[in-house]
Amino acid sequence: MSLSGERHALRKFTDRAFSASCVLATIIALVPLFGILYYVAARGIQGINLDFFTQLPKPVGETGGGMANAIVGTLKLVGLASVMGIPPGVLAGVYLAEFGQTRTGSVVRFSADVLSGIPSITVGIFVYSLVVLASKTFSAFAGALALAVIMLPTVTRTTEELLRLVPESLREAALGLGVPKWRATLRVMLRTAAPGIAVGIMLAVARVAGETAPLLFTAFSNRFWSDSWNEPTASLPVQIYTYAVSPFEDWHRQAWAAALVLVSLVLILNIAARVLVRNRVKK
């Protein structure tokens, strides 16, 4: 029997065609990402200067000023949201991984999946009626709560999935040494999965850092510094929205600058998480 033939040529052609379409698809997928990055950087860099990071917004009509309050506001909102959202999320993930094979487990898992699919503006309305109406003020607290609710399902499911990837033999090793189950879970299972969970958490944090809709009627906005957690607080996404829809050229420029700062913040978070993990693994 011959070792070559026309089928061979056909197969080679199919192989090349398939490889080529994979490359093409990858390029198509990457175009929007680099497009956005380039466009935001090109437009945003014009508005970046020292004032942008240190000054409050100027009143309408005056040029100059910055978004210092919005930058700090975003950090405050995201920080408080992380404090409120990450611990319950991780613990719920541990619950699902360890005891999730029950009816309650499936209900919790299903709820988390549904929650992660709920439009973020709905979460905003929910927190509005729950916190803002009750406290009669927009606040950083309400904004952070909305962001925390959005983070929760992602953190929960990531934690569960990554805990499931830890080999059962490690749990047995710990139990075999006379380590109680809770300690084995905490200090062996969770510890081993920690780098992956950290990446998942960073992605969740990065996602909520850019959320606008749930902040519109929870944290609202503020032209000035917010001194407490209990008053309207400026944030980059809301500020971008406000400035972008305004008729002023200078505000448009600042909106682009704010977008650049926000994207950089998210990128830094992502890269930091990855560097953290890589260093852990190297050891």
Binding site: S169, L170, E172, G176, G178, R183, V188
Partner: protein, 295 residues
Amino acid sequence: MSPFLEPPDASMPAVSRGAAEGKSSPSASEGRSPSTAEIALSTKANTKMHAEKLSAYFGKSQVLKGIALPILEKKVTAIIGPSGCGKSTFIRCLNRMHEVVPNAHVSGEVTLDGLNVYGRDIDPVRLRRRVGMVFQKPNPFPTMSIRDNVLAGLRLNGMRVDDAESRVERALHQVALWDEVKDGLDRAGTSLSGGQQQRLCIARSLAMEPEVILMDEPCSALDPIATARVEELIHELRADYTIVIVTHNMQQAARVANYTAFFYLGEVVEFGKTDAIFTHPTQRRTEDYITGRFG
């Protein structure tokens, strides 16, 4: 006082179930393997652990069917038998690791120094500190250094370790790993070779200062040289520890064990001194297995 603190007396049922039922041996009473009491007397060894009417289940399927077996103090007991005969399940019952598996449960009795480890007020966590375990696949903790792996049992239990360095050195000496790793104790435990990892896991068990060490096919993932080292180690350890080793490798059982039990389909077919089991098995099934006719 528990009745199991006394050495088992002659009324204890014969450990050889097949023989007791007189299935294949014409002179069942003469030809059967020695009972617990006879072994204890003939070797002056104490019974460290003892299984009695021990049955184990995964859900509804019964894996162990009324096992009776003594584990003698400071001796090596090998458990041999074909795959699926319940060897691993048996040793996992000795330190109550069997019940960790969902839906698994146990009936019957296992005693440690005469005390029923399935008693109501027994904490399995404390039991496992006295009855340590080495697993089939080396499983050092990947997030810990070699040093921390050795100390893992103590540290994970929240115990303060004042003499950490000397403990690490002692345990690693015991497993003959010290010279190979002393210059890199901060390296990850998983950076070692398979055989070294397994010895590290044994050191990790030893650092807890257990009385009994259960080994579940500790060499099945190792090459012949690493296997030889682990076997040498077992030889040295038996001066101080009671060891139970599950093995698929009959030569290994012959090399390391003082006593051997042959398991088949969840029952103990025969138990006795290793050389007796291998040279004069009293049961047809034992003979068939060790001569390679099945299994």
